[in-house]
């Protein structure tokens, strides 16, 4: 399992890449994409939508099931990765490149985990 050190994580398996103090990209972790299996559909949020920490913001679907994506922080959606609409498999192939959406005016980031803490969460879920 790949867990880049420079990223932050949520317990619900989203990763967060800060591009400034108040802006970030959000995607699904390697652990999440592996657990979901082949992704075949991504339902992205609307630009301008309010993201609230720990609340459902969009969903992704694998062959097997639909899974909610939770916003790991609060903020406003300022961009969505439209490339994923036609190529959801990018999430499987490159989970840390395939960001789902970007947020601005980010807050509630205090609970984010570092890579080490996130790996522990994954280990516990595997058992």
């Amino acid at each position: 399992m790949n867990t880049p050190k420079e990223l932050k994580y949520s317990k619900t398996h989203e990763w967060v890449r800060f591009t400034s103090d108040t802006e970030c990209e959000v995607g699904l972790t390697d652990f999440a994409q592996d657990a979901l299996g082949d992704l075949v559909f991504v339902n992205l949020p609307e630009e301008g939508a309010e993201a609230v920490k720990d609340e459902t913001i969009c969903d992704v679907e694998s062959v097997k099931a639909v899974s909610d994506v939770y916003s790991p922080v609060s903020g406003t959606v300022c961009a969505v990765n439209e490339e994923l609409l036609d190529s959801p498999e990018l999430i499987n192939n490159d989970p840390y490149g395939a960001w789902l959406f970007k947020l601005k005016d980010v807050s509630d980031a205090e609970d984010l985990l570092d890579a080490e803490a996130y790996e522990k969460v994954c280990e516990e879920e595997e058992h």
């Binding site: 299996g37 082949d38 075949v40 559909f41 339902n43 679907e61 694998s62 062959v63 097997k64 639909v66 609409l85 499987n92």
Partner: protein, 351 residues
């Protein structure tokens, strides 16, 4: 309690993602994923562990009479060495299970049932058999592999002669192991099912997988393949509330003979199984209400993204036989997704 098939250690060694399915630990997929496994079966070959399936034997002078009474199909003219589909119904026409029947000898039949229904089926059969027939649940005496895909004949043919016709079988040996090989399957593709002794299963499994043209496949691909081929699955397209005619199994129901459920089936106001190609954005799965011009007409029974057809499809049980091209909507978690009624099967292999 969850049981292990004789191939459990093989699945673990191949890093299969193990789930509890019908009381058995089975792989839902291997690391390559469902899409790769699905495509392998459509284009080359895939090997499945289907040892969880149940098998029962009917033997004796009245074996045929019993099958013809307990099952919807007519086995009178089934030749030795041939296989025939059938459904077992309750008096009211709902389905106990669907199954396939092998004629081993004039008075001997081998019946393969769904794993999740095995105990219920055995109880129902025991309750209804009459006359001179020896009935036995032999599930624990058999493991079952399914080798499916256009290259499956080339691969299996290296070890044994093959049953030449669809829905026929032979009893033979593969590398010294006694097996029944039938040209059957649940993928809509050319392929074979191999019944063997449980203790021989790991050897045969590993031997077949030595061929680089075949990959192991899990339950996930088994489901997407059968759905793409529009084959009904018990618990989805049929159950105790649905008759075999409603789900489109007319070919396996012979209303001109006496059998349990005949009056029940005849008395029903029939619903219809339809195919829907999803044209809106999203995946439509089972248990979604289906609407036509705002009126609810039924619900979906199975659905997902189909890898070979590269699109989202669903099957639904609805109140009328709507024409292909009819535009409908499915309610997916509160969101209406558009689809169009499509001829079944979604996928049919080229002859």
């Amino acid at each position: 309690m969850t049981l292990k098939t004789p191939l459990y250690e093989e699945h673990v060694a191949l890093k299969g993602r193990i789930v509890d399915f019908a009381g058995y630990f089975l792989p839902v997929q291997y690391p390559g994923g469902v899409i790769q496994e699905h495509m392998a079966v459509r284009e080359k070959a895939g090997l499945f562990d289907v040892s969880h399936m149940g098998e029962v034997a009917f033997k004796g002078k009245d074996a045929l009479k019993n099958l013809n009474y307990i099952l919807t199909n007519d086995y009178t003219n089934l030749k030795i060495g041939r296989v025939r589909y059938g459904v077992m119904c309750y008096e009211d026409g709902g389905c106990v299970d669907d199954l396939i029947v092998y004629r081993m000898a004039e008075d001997e039949f081998f019946v393969v049932v769904n794993a999740s229904n095995r105990m219920k089926d055995v109880a129902w059969m025991k309750e209804h058999i009459t006359g001179e027939v020896e009935f036995k649940d032999v599930s624990d005496e058999y493991a079952q592999l399914a080798l499916q895909g256009p290259l499956s004949g080339d691969i299996l043919g290296q070890y044994t002669e093959l049953p030449q016709k669809y829905y026929s079988f032979i009893t033979t040996q593969i590398l010294g192991k006694d097996v029944i090989v039938s040209q059957t399957g649940y993928t809509g593709e050319y392929g074979f099912e191999i019944y063997c002794k449980p203790e021989d299963a790991p050897f045969l499994w590993n031997e077949i997988l030595k061929d680089e043209r075949v990959i192991p496949c899990g339950l996930g691909a088994r489901d997407t393949l059968r759905l793409e081929a529009s084959m009904p699955l018990y618990g989805h397209e049929m159950d105790e509330t649905v008759s075999p005619l409603e789900t489109g199994l007319d070919f396996g129901v012979k209303m001109n003979k006496e059998f349990i459920g005949r009056e029940g089936i005849a008395a029903r106001k029939n619903r219809h199984r339809i195919g829907i190609k999803v044209t809106g954005r999203g995946i439509v799965r089972e248990h979604c209400d289906v609407y036509l011009n705002g009126q609810k007409i039924g619900h979906t029974t199975s659905g997902t993204f189909l890898p070979y057809l590269k699109g989202a499809y669903a099957m639904a049980l609805v109140d009328e036989a709507y024409e292909p091209g009819t535009v409908v909507e499915a309610d997916v978690r509160g969101r209406k997704i558009e689809g169009v009624v499509t001829v079944l099967p979604f996928y049919k292999k080229e002859k």
